[in-house]
């Protein structure tokens, strides 16, 4: 649990967070445009800036009380910066040793060094100098180093922003699985909605140096005016389980209400080259653009769309400016899927709340999950 109210003035920029309180479990994403104060808030939360003022409690531990601050060295945080911030001229191993040597006995537990370096994919890099690594490799080392510091909170400040597209995709998948498996409370900064949808349990929205709202991911993606939605329009995020690839190369993504009951829906996904092979039966998120979802009143035969999911209309919101309407659907396990339709289609189908419909989603639209 983080609770407080922080101020920090850096040059011309002033952070004045306002009162806030949020759970520390899972992933909390700080989201906002550049210049909204995300990084400044994270610096204030971490204690890296001495000019921080205000109050901050981590669980029942005071981290900031006016000018008094608990030193960063005693906060047990792991930090991953935009640049990897490794010690130049040293090997990967000695960079990791720097963190390991300084872990107090009371916190020296958790996954082994071998497991972490294997998991993060840097075992073969250990004897190499960090000066000769690629951007993606450097950031992997930085992630391993932060994990090996045995943090109570992992803080990541746009860790993917300096990477190319391929390294970004690989590292996002890595970060997603590592923080889920090791159960480390994480604060994560990004301005990319796709990273929010993949990682977040809750979102702290920021603008003009203050926190505008704190919402769960479900809340943040089920309002049409969400700051997460860009020119791509509304996006739904479904939680489910990935199965095994079938003989046609399609990957099933299912959700059930209880572990052994038959699935309430199955999406068939295309495997793609850049898709890092997911572990079988692993928990995953599926990101679906509302404009890629069509609606039918009954199941449709003679159509190439494989994904036809039964659902009930929850509500319909009108975006008058674009002459489009967002239809919020409840799937049978309670998750929300959004379909974006033209006003004419909504009228022609006579769609209204509580009506049962089928959501049609093109397989091709599910590439980037």
């Amino acid at each position: 649990m983080f609770k407080g109210n922080l101020q920090l003035k850096l040059g011309n920029f002033t952070l004045n967070s306002g009162e806030f309180q949020f759970e520390s479990t899972g992933v909390t994403v700080l989201f906002g445009r550049s210049g909204s104060g995300k990084s400044t808030l994270l610096r204030a939360l971490s204690g890296l800036d001495r000019a921080t003022r205000g109050q901050l409690m981590f669980h029942d531990e005071p981290w900031q009380m006016g000018k008094q601050a608990r030193p960063v060295e005693q906060r047990d945080i792991g930090f991953v910066f935009q640049t990897a911030a490794l010690l130049p001229g040293k090997t990967v191993q000695s960079n990791l040793d720097y963190a390991i040597k300084r872990v107090p006995k009371s916190r020296a537990q958790g996954p082994s060094f071998e497991e972490i370096s294997q998991r993060v994919g840097i075992t073969h890099l250990l004897p190499r100098s960090v000066d000769n690594l690629s951007g993606g490799e450097r950031q992997r080392v930085a992630i391993a180093r932060a994990l090996l510091a045995r943090p109570r909170v992992l803080m990541m400040d746009e860790p993917l922003s300096a990477l190319d597209w391929r390294a970004k995709t690989e590292l996002l998948a890595l970060i997603e699985s590592v923080i889920a498996d090791y159960q480390i409370p994480t604060l994560y900064i990004t301005h990319a909605p796709i990273e929010v949808e993949r990682l977040a349990n809750r979102v702290v929205f920021m603008a003009d140096g203050r926190i505008t709202s704190i919402e769960t991911l479900a809340e943040a993606t089920t309002r049409i005016d969400s700051p997460l939605f860009t020119e791509e329009g509304p996006v739904s995020v479904l939680h489910g389980t990935l199965g095994t690839v079938d003989q046609d190369g399609l990957l099933p993504f299912t959700a059930s209400t209880t572990p052994n009951s038959p699935p309430v829906f199955t999406f068939w996904l295309n495997r793609t080259e850049h898709h890092t092979a997911p572990a079988q039966n692993s928990q995953a998120r599926l990101r679906i653009l509302a404009r890629d979802v069509a609606l039918a009143r009954e199941q449709v035969d003679g159509i190439s769309m494989l994904n036809q999911i039964p659902a009930t209309i929850q509500r319909i919101e009108v975006d008058a400016a674009a002459n489009r309407q967002a239809v919020f659907l409840t799937l049978h396990d309670g998750q929300t899927l959004i379909a974006e339709l033209s006003s004419r289609s909504v009228q022609a189908l006579a769609l209204k709340p509580e009506q049962a419909v089928f959501a049609l989603v093109k397989t091709a639209a599910l590439l980037d999950s």
């Binding site: 971490s46 890296l48 960063v72 060295e73 005693q74 047990d76 945080i77 792991g78 930090f79 910066f81 935009q82 640049t83 990897a84 911030a85 490794l86 010690l87 130049p88 001229g89 720097y98 963190a99 300084r102 872990v103 107090p104 960090v130 000066d131 690594l133 450097r138 930085a142 180093r145 932060a146 510091a149 803080m155």
Partner: protein, 230 residues
């Protein structure tokens, strides 16, 4: 000692190296905290303090020497303080006074390069060390000094070379006492005054070669120590 048939007086050379060496060590110990404090300062007092540190660069050495003679006089505060610590020599016209004078005279040559290196530190690397629980002294010696090593190198070599080359302050504070305060630069002046051009030549050419070698060493090492930017 005879070189090319001329007598070479080794004492001034040894004395010069000793004074310059001690001054450099003393200034690394005194100058580093000053450089760090200045580099971290955000207040307006910094402008005054930076100017104060740079003052020996522009002041005529005679001005510095004059105030030093007054400050170091046997009845002054500094002499009394040293006496209370058990030192019963005098400060003017001896080696200790010479070293004190050199420390003040060469201060900017130590502080400025080290301060510039501290200001150019990649803050994220230092911050990363803090999040890995490195205390101030821990990260200072394990991260900051290695990253600022070029500043330390340039600072100490410039300080050493500048102290070797000082003249005015030495003459004012130290006088010209053989084996005590007669450094190479004073010895050369002395030889020229007494028309001993051969001896002056010998010491002068040694200084030229020494200075050239020192500078070449700095440039070579500077290149080798370059930190690769990723």
């Amino acid at each position: 000692m005879q070189v090319f048939g001329y007598p070479l007086d080794v004492d001034p050379i040894l004395l010069t190296l000793e004074v310059a060496g001690i001054t450099t060590l003393a200034l690394l110990i005194i100058g580093t905290p000053i450089a760090w404090a200045l580099s971290q300062m955000r207040s307006r007092a910094r402008i005054f303090l930076e100017a104060l540190v740079a003052l020996p660069l522009v002041l005529p050495p005679t001005v510095l020497g004059f105030y030093l003679i007054i400050a170091l006089n046997p009845n002054g505060e500094i002499a009394h303080f040293l006496k209370s610590l058990g030192y019963d020599g005098q400060l003017t016209f001896n080696k200790l006074g010479l070293i004190i004078g050199s420390v003040i005279y060469s201060l900017p040559f130590t502080v400025q390069p080290i301060m510039a290196a501290f200001e150019a530190l990649p803050t994220q690397i230092v911050d990363a060390a803090r999040t890995m629980r490195a205390s101030f002294f821990d990260r200072f010696f394990t991260v900051i000094v290695p990253l600022a090593r070029q500043g330390f190198l340039v600072g100490s070599v410039l300080t050493f070379a500048h102290t070797v080359g000082e003249f005015g302050v030495v003459l004012m504070v130290g006088g010209n006492i053989e084996g005590q305060t007669r450094t190479v630069s004073i010895a050369i002046f002395d030889h020229v005054e007494s028309f001993e051009y051969a001896e002056a030549h010998l010491l002068s050419i040694i200084m030229v070669i020494f200075s050239l070698l020192v500078l070449m060493f700095v440039y070579a090492l500077n290149r080798k120590l370059q930190i690769k930017q990723a």
